[in-house]
């Protein structure tokens, strides 16, 4: 069958220029548009603080520089704890938790993917564990561990400080997330890698350690860092047990001085802590994406 040339192709010269409206956001116009929209949005936010009737009160209660400084440095004469003295507690809690979460999560992930029949009861326990701790709010886990273990009266386990119970609760909850992240990473390694390693005569354990895990960990670093970012700020929840960390110190300041500026200082502490890590994670993800685009 032959096609009528008039039907098969068009003789008209097409116009390839975009309509004027869609050109608004490109080039120098884009810069202007970005500036205008920024001024409008941020201006509106400031207007809420300065133009509303409650704005002045809010500023005095939350953003008073004098009160913020007082909350940060504390005042022994007033019996005020310094927020800066709480920092250390948050930091060691999240550092210790992260190490424990990584090791515990790896073990849980490994148990969940093995196929050995001997390990069946452990597999069931691991599945029940991840289901439970991903489902129960961290705040409740903190309270149950922190109030429960001392009552249990079980040797050294019942004689720990609130911060240690906090680390236990954080580890329990976050290991369940991290185990699932690692498991997903392991499944993302192509099956051919397993076949190649096994056909070299490597045992199952060596294959996991030398071939699968190194590739899996690389792909899960960004989601892993995301979980660590939320772990770092969730150290604040340990304040309900009375551990004197940043949030608790801010609460004490608030209930003594009746000013909320300490809460803002605490918030700023967590931002300073997490923003570098958030930026770094984004950078890793962008690099990963770029590499994948080159690869394909």
């Amino acid at each position: 069958m032959t096609l009528d040339p008039d039907v098969a192709s068009s003789d008209a010269t097409p116009n390839l220029f975009a309509p004027r409206r869609s050109r608004l956001l490109s080039g120098r116009r884009g810069l202007v548009a970005a500036s205008v929209s920024s001024i409008i949005v941020f201006g509106a936010l400031f207007a809420v603080l300065f133009a509303t009737s409650g704005g002045a009160t809010l500023r005095a209660d939350f953003f008073s520089p004098h009160q913020m400084w007082l909350a940060w440095t504390g005042d022994p004469r007033l019996g005020l704890l310094a927020i800066r003295d709480g920092i250390f507690t948050n930091v060691w809690m999240f550092l210790l938790s992260e190490v424990l979460v990584l090791s515990f999560g790896l073990v849980i992930a490994w148990i969940r993917i093995t196929q050995s029949s001997v390990l069946l009861p452990f597999r069931m326990m691991a599945t029940a564990y991840t289901d439970t701790f991903r489902g129960v709010p961290l705040l409740l886990v903190v309270m149950m561990v922190g109030y429960g273990l001392p009552i249990l009266n079980f040797g050294f386990l019942s004689r720990q400080s609130p911060a240690v119970y906090g680390v236990m609760a954080l580890t329990l909850t976050y290991s369940s997330y991290v185990a699932e992240v690692i498991r997903a990473g392991i499944f993302s390694v192509p099956n051919g890698q397993l076949l190649a390693a096994r056909s070299l005569g490597l045992t199952q354990a060596s294959t996991m350690r030398l071939v699968i895990l190194p590739q899996a960990i690389r792909t899960v670093i960004p989601p892993l860092l995301n979980d660590f970012i939320s772990l770092q700020k969730d150290t604040a929840l340990v304040s309900v047990l009375g551990a004197v960390e940043v949030t608790r110190a801010a609460q004490i300041f608030q209930s003594t001085v009746f000013n909320e500026s300490g809460l803002v200082v605490a918030a700023m502490f967590f931002l300073v802590l997490t923003i570098p890590m958030t930026r770094y994670t984004d950078h890793l993800m962008a690099r990963d994406r770029a590499r994948r685009l080159v690869g394909s």
Binding site: P190, G192, Q193, L195, A196, A197, R198, S199, L200, G201, L202, T203, S206, L210, V211, P214, Q215, R218, G295
Partner: protein, 244 residues
């Protein structure tokens, strides 16, 4: 005829309802090259994977040096150390350098000292002209180079035989030649090989025996001359007419 290295005896393999191998019997002698030909899905790859115990079989036996691999006392990892396998998709380890890809098996499966294997690995790379790329990562190599490294990786284990599963099917046509040339070299130096392939000219060149598989049945087996010039079965004739 020399010693039998690998023997399939009435091998049956099912995936659920689907019978992929229906009683395949085949012998591979030392220094022999056997090419498996047949349409995609005829069971060539499955047969190779069964020999390497990457798949279990449902009936029949596979023996390596007269030792039945289905015996409960057989250690699959030991079996695999004597059988080299090369895949269609290369499957080099992307997180390891070319050299480390080659060293992984000898060092971690055979427990040989890294210093001892190092020079052997470099010589193997020399042989395929890639010694200068020893410290590169696989994604810096072309497909043909990657596949040649994968072949050398399996040779570093000093296997008794090589299984090659359509090793040129994922390559650009321009890169097929270098891989086939390496296999020709290996064949001439007496490497025992079982090769699943779609490259008929290559099969005609290097094979001592050609086995034609159709829907899990080994229909016909013979010398290249017999199979290509005088096929006995109608389905072999139809297949050869389609591919040539």
């Amino acid at each position: 005829m020399s010693e039998v290295v690998l023997e399939f005896d009435s091998v049956v393999k099912r995936f659920a309802e689907n019978e992929v191998l229906r009683g395949v019997s085949l012998q591979l002698h030392r220094h022999e090259v056997v090419c498996l030909i047949g349409a995609s899905g005829s069971g060539k790859s499955t047969l190779l994977r069964c020999a390497n115990l990457l798949e279990t079989i449902d009936a029949g036996t596979i023996s390596l040096f007269d030792q039945p691999l289905q015996d409960k006392r057989i250690d699959p990892d030991l079996v695999r150390r004597h059988i080299g396998m090369v895949f269609q998709s290369f499957n080099l380890f992307p997180h390891l350098s070319v050299l480390d890809n080659i060293l992984l098996g000898p060092v971690h499966a055979l427990k040989r000292k890294r210093e001892d294997v190092n020079e052997e690995a470099l010589e193997l790379l020399e042989r395929i002209g890639l010694r200068a790329r020893a410290n590169d990562f696989p994604d810096r190599l072309s497909g043909g180079q990657q596949q040649r490294v994968a072949i050398v990786r399996s040779l570093a284990m000093k296997p008794s035989l090589l299984l090659l599963d359509e090793v040129t099917s994922a390559l650009d046509p321009t890169l097929v030649g270098e891989v086939l040339d390496l296999l020709r070299d290996l064949a001439h130096s007496g490497t025992t090989m079982l090769i699943a392939t779609h490259e008929m000219n290559f099969a005609r060149d290097v094979a001592h025996q050609i086995a034609y598989l159709d829907a899990g049945v080994l229909v016909e087996k013979g010398t290249p001359a017999a199979i290509f010039n005088d096929p006995q079965h109608e389905s072999t004739r139809r297949f050869l007419a389609r591919v040539s």
